[in-house]
Every structure is written in C-alpha cells, then in structure tokens.
Amino acid sequence: MSTSHSIAAKKFLENQTYATWHDKTFWGVRAKRDKLAFELPEWERLRDKASAIKRHTLTNIDMYLEMFSEAAEKNGVEVHWAKDAQEFNEIVFNILKSHNAKKLVKSKSMLTEECRMNPYLEERGIEVVETDLGERILQLDHQDPSHIVMPATHLSHDDVGEIFERELNTEKGNHDPTYLTYMARLSLRDEFLTADAGMTGANFGIAATGDIVVCTNEGNADMSTSVPKLQIAAIGLEKIIPDYEALSVFVRLLARSATGQPSTVYTSHFRKARPGADKMHIVIVDNGRSQWLGDPQHWESLKCIRCGACMNTCPVYRWSGGYSYSYFIPGPIGINLGMLRNPKEYSGNVSACTLCLSCQCVCPAKVDLGTQIYKWRQALDSYGVANKEKKMMVKGMDMIFDHLSVYNAATACAHFLNGMGPLVNNGLNPWAYAHKMMKFPKKPFHKQFEDMEKNEK
C-alpha cells in the first residue's frame, strides 16, 4: 500500500542522523515564526484580512489584471502575457535575443522553476546565473530546490563546502559558512558586473501603481536589476494585489511566517527601467491559474504567498524532505498545487498528510491546506488513481461496519488474533511495521455493556 511519496520517505528515513537534523532545522524555523507571530496581538486578524483581500482580489482578478497592466504600461514598462510555460519561456528568450543578451542573472523565482525556464534558455545559448545563494549552490550542483524559501537547507555546510571546492576553487576543507558565503559573494559579484540582463520573480504586483515588489534578504534582486542594462520581471497572475494598503498586510505576514523575521532585509519596489537602461519588461503568466480559479473546491490555493510556513510545520515534510514529493513544490501547498496541475501525475503525494491541520493554522493567507488534501483524497477514485489495496480495505470496512451481524461476529472473534502473534506481526500487515499488534479484549464494549445490564436487572 505504498505511494510515490511513502516510498521516497522511507528511503529518506534510512539516514536517521540526517533525518533528525532535517526535522530539527525546520522545526527551528517554525519556532522562530511562532515567536514573531506572538509578538503581534493582531496576528490572527492580519491573517483574516490577508485571506479576505486575496479572496476579493482573486474574484476580481480580471479587473485587477487590467489595472496592473495599464499602470505598468503608463510607467513605460512593456507588459507581456503568457498563457503557459512554453509561451513564457519563448517570450523571455525573445526579449533576451532582441537585446542580444547572452548572460542573465536572476533572483529566486518559483515561477521560473515551474516553467523550467533555465534549461530552455540554456539550450538556446543563454548563460543563466542564479544569484540567491541557496539557488546558486543548487545550480552549481545541478539539483532542484527542496523548499520554496530555503531551497538548499537540506545540504550541510560540508556538502556546500565540497561543491564550492569543486566549482569555485575554494580552500580545501574550509567549510565555514561565513567563508563559503564570502566566496560565493566574490564569484557572484563578477556575474552581476558582466551580465546583460537581470531577472526577478515577484512577491506582489500592485495593481494601483504597477509596482513589482520583491522581498529578499541577500539583496540579490536589487543587484540583479541595478547593474545590467535590461530588467525582466516574471509574475504569476495570482500575485497581483490591489494597492499599498493591501500590501502592508502581506509584508507584515510574509517574512514573519517564512523565516521568523519582522521583515526581509529588502522590500524592493520596481516601477520602471533605470535611467540609461533599456525598457523594463514584465511577463504575466497564467499557466493553469485562470482555470484553477474556477475550481469551487480548490481555488483558494491561489491565495498562497509562497512563505513556506506550511512546510516547516508539516511533520511529514520535516520527516521526509522536499525531494520525496514528486511535484516541484513540496509540503502541504505543493500537494495541493500538484493536484491542481495534474491529478493523475501527482496523486502520489496525497498520502503525505496525517490531516493534523497544523498547516492551515500557520498559513498567513489562511489556505485550508489540510482540508483540501482531504478533498483531493475523495477525488482520487474518480481519477482512477486510488490505491487498489486501500480501496479493497475500505470495501472490507463497508462490509463489516454496514452489517451489524458481521461487525458483531468480527469483534467477538478479534481476541483470537491475540494468540496468533506470527500471523499478525509480519510484513503482510502494514500495521505491524511499526507496532506490536494490539491485544483484543475477550469481550468488546457492547458485550460487556449487555452483561452489565443483565446483572443490574
């Protein structure tokens, strides 16, 4: 009765030292988030407002998209529209090509991961340099992110040290994070200075003013866009919010939820190209979002502001790691977004949830993540991807619970299992993997109750 996630998770847990460290690290981030949240008595009201603003914006997104693009165009920005990943990649490539740009520095963007933009551009001769340190480490080692905010946190400083020794010629054996960060800084500095174009994602797009708002701690979004001549911003259409009043709610929640900081170091507002630079470009991407908006059960997943708090609090994520999920976004939000993307392909993640609902208690935009996973489970059978053994087990339960006589017979006999240790404590019984089989009483409650009633009479 295994799923793609459960198989990968089992493998992840083989290295207990590492798994324990992984759990502790991400729980530490959750604890930092708690500390910051509890400093604000208005925290729950902020979450309510954030959710309501997103619900409002998403259900009026047609209007806000018009507003946003109009404001951006008024600022002198060229706005592009991409219906899917392919179109997005083509648009970016054509912008780069028309400016004869060969090297692109970019700050972190889950949207470009979603569209697999880097390989597309690289195949066409563009050198793409990730400038977020975590993303850069992964790029040098040809890995994918394992978390949406802390993409390389699954690596230890020794792992990073070895990658840098190989790729950046750092001192052998010097795996001190401060030293390694400095070496990455020096190497990236050269990239910023020689890049032809800079690209950012967007945490928010402001409809009223046309701003692209990007939140970083490293300052790499600003380095990427304040040195090269050409600036491109990529934004998923659900990231548009009305105005600064709305933004003030989200910026207060974002960094506190993501990393337990009162704000990111840089909250940058880009409205137009720098003096002397080429025209700024914004690419608005749909890639499924407009369809998801119409899903009455799951459209609220679009409220997500990509803080990663649901991953940090999710015990299944902490004990299985980002790579055990088959969708490129892991954790509770990843399970949901994967199912919106392609339920047949990504249903193997739906098992990765105990329905503990901690995720929806931390989500700053109040996406009901766990409840939605429950709903996805209800739909698995209709997609033809329900687990056959599980289905049989449920049919078996129907047989027992729907028929009182069968139920009574089963509970009356259950205690016979007590004497059959080897028969029940074996590999065929998944419960026995972790547990000693429970001891069934001679008489179930309903029998004992009957006896008691008889005695009392």
Binding site: I53, T181, S263, V265, R274, S290
Partner: protein, 195 residues
C-alpha cells in the same frame, strides 16, 4: 494582445462570485508609545549600527569613526565631503564596484521591523547594494508599522524605492546566519533631528 484578452476572459469566465474587499478599520495594529526608541532597538536587532548626530556637519566624522579603513566613499549628498565618487555622475553602475562606503539618504524608519524607506534619488541606485558598507542618513521620523509606512512612501520619476532593514543577510548554508550575502555587509544609520 490576444493572449491578454484570452487570459482575462478565462479568468472572468471562471469567477463564480465577486467577493467584497475588507476594510482594515478593525485591525488595530500594534503602535508603540515611543516609536523612535523601538525603531532604534529593532534596527540594531537587524544588524544596524545606530548613530545620533545634531547636524549633517557630523556625518563625515561618524563615517571616519565607524569605517576608519574606508578608502572609497560614494555619495551624492552635498555634506559628505569625504566622497570621492558620485553615483549621480559615474558613467555606469559598474563604476561603483569597489566602493567601501556608500552614503545615502533615507526618508523615514519603521519601528516594527527596523527598516528605512529609501527612494532612489541618484542615477545609479546600486550604490545602496554594491557598496561594501552602507550608511543611511535620516531624519528622526519614525512610524510604528507597515500600515503607517505605506501611507508615507513616496516616489519620484526614478520609479524605484526600497525598504532596507540592516545589512544583506543569508542563512542558506546550513541555516547559519551570515551578514553580507550579495549586498552591503554592514549598515549604519545616522539619525539627525532636523534633516
């Protein structure tokens, strides 16, 4: 153009019910009795050094005191006499690489997170990021929270502004906090009452 129309039409078709926007009147955000004091302590938590001065005349001396080894100072502020580079007149952004101290003006501070609002006022804004160390000279004007802050932000024709809260940071290697990822490695705030 047609892709734009397609996308917006598809959104419109998939919206079932238009929900109203909430007001923030009942949010009651945290405000501080002494926002300036909170701002200073929070900026320090974010890794800033905070200096107080009576007038802009003291700025050069403070830069010298805090960054005694600095060789190249870049600023467009008229009272920074120690500046040898002006981000307003350098030929390009790359010319600011190697600056030891960049000195800029910040408009106001935010108590809840120790950030300052910086509106681009020079041709090459990378002075805020590419300089090894950043100094922001600012008035003693502080708001409590980001709601108030977004009521105060202003833009000019450069069309760029940023909240900065301390030096560039990362914890991307094994969750160890390191100051000075890609941008400034330290940040000093100089508060002047009547700036």
């Amino acid at each position: 153009m047609s892709t734009k129309k397609d996308i917006i039409d598809r959104c419109r078709a998939n919206i079932r019910e238009r929900l109203i926007r909430p007001t923030l009147t009942d949010l009651n955000p945290t405000v501080y009795d002494d926002p300036l004091e909170k701002f200073i302590s929070q900026a320090q938590v974010m890794g800033c050094r905070v200096e107080r001065a009576k007038s802009t005349d003291e700025v050069d001396a403070i830069i010298k005191k805090v960054y005694p080894d600095a060789k190249i100072v870049a600023s467009s502020l008229p009272y920074v006499k120690s500046a040898s580079l002006n981000p307003d007149t350098v030929p390009d952004a790359q010319a600011l690489n190697g600056v030891d101290v960049g000195v800029i003006r910040a408009e106001f501070g935010v108590a809840e997170n120790g950030s300052v609002w910086v509106m681009q006022k020079v041709k090459e804004r990378d002075v805020c990021f590419i300089s090894e160390n950043l100094v922001a000279v600012m008035p003693e004007h502080v708001v409590s929270n980001m709601h108030e802050a977004y009521g105060e932000v202003s833009f000019n024709d450069y069309g760029y502004g940023v909240f900065i809260a301390g030096p560039s940071k990362t914890a991307d290697i094994a969750q160890v906090l390191v100051m000075g990822a890609q941008a400034a490695r330290s940040m000093t705030l100089i508060l002047i009452p009547d700036l």
